[in-house]
């Protein structure tokens, strides 16, 4: 039955990209993840329209530690700031960071991993051994050291997180490229007279793309957690600027009497990284041409 349907689809002549989109759309959990993530992005982008930034940092003496109400949807913190405004504005930092770090480390990793995987031999050894040295130190710990050593500002935080991400991603890119480069169809392409550029563009990249993109997506959700962890430890985004990690850090002392201070930023963190993971899983299935329907 599946075979018949596949052949029918083949007859219609759908392009591979349309086919990938169709498969992604059919994946319910991926679509739910994508909707949630887009909603969160929308909230982050429209944060200023929804609640002005001033609400997030204005301290109101008479409104400390209020529970959630119609006026303060998520309650207020110990300095009388509106938690709803802080969580919404916090999304900006978390998501912007996740996307920036993910994109930068992807570009660096594809370049390094591509060189190491395609050329192999000595080039491969130099690149990989250098990265092994970095990899000896756990990514988050390394990021912590870098920020602690060079000072806490956004630029250093960005660099620290990228350095933490790159080694593992390079490994994945390299392994994927190596697997693809030794495939028979590469030899067949050479046999038909294809040059290096065509082989890379038409054979290696399209076939290596899947695992790498999926990995980048999953990384993005991890980066959100990393940014928050660093902020939680006081090394990331500094208060009064709101970020989910430093919201949690600030809420620590009042957790027992005012649990909503933890619930909302924590929930935001979990939902965001979960939704990104769901998108990543869906992409993985959609990009694999061997999985059908």
């Amino acid at each position: 039955m599946a075979k018949v349907r596949a052949a029918a689809g083949a007859e219609k002549g759908v392009s591979q990209n349309l086919e990938i989109m169709r498969r992604f759309r059919k994946n319910r959990s991926a679509m739910i993840g994508l909707s949630i993530f887009l909603l969160i992005c929308l909230l982050a982008v429209l944060a200023d329209v929804i609640v002005p930034y001033s609400e997030a940092i204005t301290q109101v003496k008479g409104a400390r530690l209020l529970p959630p109400s119609a006026e303060h949807l998520f309650g207020t913190d110990n300095l009388g700031r509106d938690m709803f405004a802080r969580v919404i504005h916090g999304a900006r930092y978390s998501i912007a960071f996740a996307l920036a770090v993910s994109a930068c480390s992807l570009v660096i990793s594809v370049a390094l991993g591509g060189i190491a995987g395609y050329y192999g031999g000595a080039t491969d050894n130099v690149v990989m051994r250098a990265l092994d040295v970095i990899m000896c130190i756990p990514g988050d710990l390394l990021a912590l050291c870098i920020v602690a050593a060079f000072g806490t500002n956004l630029g250093n935080l960005l660099i620290a997180l990228i350095v933490g991400q790159v080694p593992a991603t390079v490994r994945i890119v390299r392994a994927t490229i190596m697997g693809v480069s030794s495939a028979d169809y590469i030899e067949a392409a050479q046999c038909h007279g294809a040059g290096d550029a065509r082989i890379i563009a038409r054979y290696i990249v399209p076939n290596a793309m899947g695992p790498v993109i999926v990995n980048a997506t999953v990384n993005a959700s991890r980066i959100i957690i990393s940014v928050s962890s660093l902020s939680f430890l006081g090394l990331g985004i500094q208060p009064p600027a709101p970020e989910w990690g430093n919201l949690l850090a600030g809420a620590r002392e009042f957790m027992r009497i005012c649990p909503w201070l933890v619930y909302f930023p924590g929930l935001a963190l979990v939902i965001t990284s979960l939704s990104i993971n769901m998108v990543g899983d869906g992409l993985r299935d959609a990009l694999d041409p061997k999985i059908r329907d």
Partner: protein
Amino acid sequence: MSVLIETQDLKKYFKTPRGWLHAVDGIDFQIQTGSTLGVVGESGCGKSTLGRAVLRLHEPTSGKIFYEGKDLMSLRKSEMRRMCTEMQMIFQDPYSSLNPRMSVWQLIAEPMLINRMYGGDKDALNRHIEDLMDTVGLAKRLVHAYPHELDGGRRQRIGVARALSLNPKFIVCDEPVSALDVSIQAQILNLLMDLQDERGLTYMFITHDLSVVKHISDEIMVMYMGKCVERAPKGELFSNPAHPYTRALLRAIPEPSLGRRGELQVLKGEVASPINPKPGCRFAHRCPYARQACAEQEAALAEISPAHFVACPFCGETK
């Protein structure tokens, strides 16, 4: 009849941590235009490497290759790449030799696009693709299918169509049917033979299957550990095998006969390591007729009857 392709002392060694692996160790052959040379031998004897070395997909270590009298080894990489319009290959595994992200149309068009066969003339390209699909027996409705949607036989037909697309004269068939089941094997073999009759193609047909090689070849070369041990016209080789290894191979063909339970004579021992091989005859330690001289001096190919070459100086005595 003229010689289309010829090799002289072709060698391909691979560097390994333990030394040089002599995959192809001094092979000479000629193939007449329009005929088929079958290359047989057990797994790992270097027959696939030989096929790739002839096309310089694996750069030969030394030796010469002549195509229509032209010395291929003197060509630069870019010139060699253009030779793909003359010499093509059909791959063993129809599952892994097709890019899974390309449709049948793209797969067949790719060689022609790479070589700018029709420039921008898409109609001519489409017509050629339709012709090719028709020739190899692929239904036109499959033109937008992807390889994973097709069975092994159809995929191999795509492989054949791709090899034919540039109108080559010479095709290396690297075990093109060994990944297929028997009924499909026959279809593909008949297709290849029909194509040879229609287009005057010249094949180098690599296989480990003696029944296949008997079906398709004009001349047969038997390889053992990178060396040619015997080369003869098909009929001669099957009726009058001279080298002990060839005879062992032919004896190993199961004979379907009722009642008789023939005793299968099996070669003892295993293939020696092709890394830094010992001097002398490569087959000596498994050969039932081996003597002192075999381990000391290499056996050269000698013509024992017209066009029948054997690399065993004692083959006359061991019949």
